[in-house]
Amino acid sequence: MIKKILINDASEAFCKKVNELSGETVSRCDQCGTCTGSCPMIIEMDITPSQMMRLVLLGDESVMETKTIWICASCYSCTARCPRGLDASKVAEALRQIKLRQAIDYMHMEDMDPEELKKFPQMVLVAAYRKLTG
């Protein structure tokens, strides 16, 4: 299947924004797939981390609607192994932040089971609030 890509001012602006927020330069990505191979959460993801990097480079904003950006738990496995020294976890964080800064939360505490909540160490709540709510 051939996928048409469109590169225009808007897509370039999106890529630039992600680069600025993450501090990474996604155009340096070689698409070698080491991040994908290292990712422990890969089974839960809808697109691979290397696809995420590619979509950002192409300025394709559909990357924002993927499950991948939220499933990344910032374990830094990809960071440790990237041959180009890139940090895909920072790119995922930048994408999450773009959503969260529009006040679109991924987690809603009111949906949680109140009895279940009591069991967690506080750090779970603190971390989830910081990563998944704006």
Binding site: Q97, K119, M123, V126, A127
Partner: protein, 300 residues
């Protein structure tokens, strides 16, 4: 007794208090007093990764500043800050690095914290308790062992944040040995788990426990296949995900057999033959006591 400042972190005085009490007991046996900072706040658990977000770094910087002030005022023997929790270690060290390197960020954060008594200069050194033990020396540790763990097959689990990213990790990010070295000094049978530095699923345990159960299953089953009878960890969240989530693992994989997950400090207390009231062996979902009794490491 050498006094060194200690930062507990949010969970270490509630859900993971046995990690703190056991670490303090072990430290005492090694002639160290972990002095809890009198005024501390939660570090935020996860390091904020975006370039422009300074607000989330205020919490760790406040803690680093308080530690610096506290050790100076009280003339502690060692001014470094000891932490037990892997997440705290990661957040404090990474933020510290950021404010050391980026003067502009440091100034902004300091200006924002104008109610504080002094400015933070980036001088606090953060170390993990395991690093302190490594410094004391495995040789010294083995001399303290009264009750060798020789017939206990222990598999250490590291998780992510003790090791990665490598500029703040306490050991080789791909092939760490610090826990192995420690366990060897306690004369334990060390079992290598190929997934010892695989992520446990972290905070996803809140929103998607099945994902975390699946990750935990992989990690635990690999340890068990290699012959492990018990797992050690150094992070309250890893401990929760590997221990508590075995309930969910069993639902998905009925053939799974439970395996106890404890903090390395609890095993140290047993090896040093310290009074076990503070070890918190009763605070686990999978009770390690039957195994330890079978191995004659506990008295009835």
């Amino acid at each position: 007794m050498k006094r060194i400042p200690y930062y507990p972190g949010c969970s270490l005085q509630t859900k993971a208090k046995h990690f703190e009490t056991s670490a303090m007991a072990v430290a005492e046996a090694l002639d160290y007093e972990l002095v809890t900072l009198p005024r501390w706040n939660c570090c935020g658990a996860v390091h904020s990764l975006t370039t422009d977000d300074l607000m989330h770094h205020v919490a760790p910087v406040t803690t680093l500043l308080r530690s610096k002030e506290f050790s100076a005022e009280n003339h502690l023997d060692d001014s470094r800050l000891v932490v037990l929790c892997a997440m705290c270690l990661n957040v404090l060290k990474r933020t510290n690095k950021r404010v050391q390197e980026l003067l502009e960020d440091r100034t902004k954060i300091n200006d924002f914290m104008y109610l504080e008594n002094s400015k933070y200069d980036g001088s606090t050194i953060v170390i993990h308790f395991l690093e302190l033990l490594r410094e004391i020396g495995w040789e010294t540790l083995s001399q303290k062992v009264k009750h060798p763990l020789s017939n206990l097959a222990v598999s250490p689990y590291y998780g992510c944040l003790l090791l990665r990213p490598k500029e703040v990790g306490i050991d080789n990010p791909e092939a760490p040995t610090i826990q192995e070295d420690l366990l060897k000094s306690l004369d334990a049978k060390v079992i290598e788990n190929p997934l010892k530095n695989r992520c446990c699923g972290s905070y996803h345990t809140l929103v998607d426990k099945d994902v975390v159960a699946e990750l935990g299953y992989d990690i635990l089953i690999n340890a068990q296949k290699a012959g492990a009878e018990i797992i050690t960890t150094s992070c309250p969240l890893c401990a929760f995900n590997l221990d508590q989530r075995q309930e969910n693992i069993l639902k998905k994989h009925p053939d799974f057999t439970k395996i106890p997950v404890v903090y390395f400090t609890e095993l140290m207390m047993i090896a040093f033959d310290l009074p076990l009231e503070k070890a918190g062996l009763d605070m686990h979902y999978v009770d390690p006591r039957p195994l330890l009794l079978k191995k004659e490491m506990l008295h009835e």
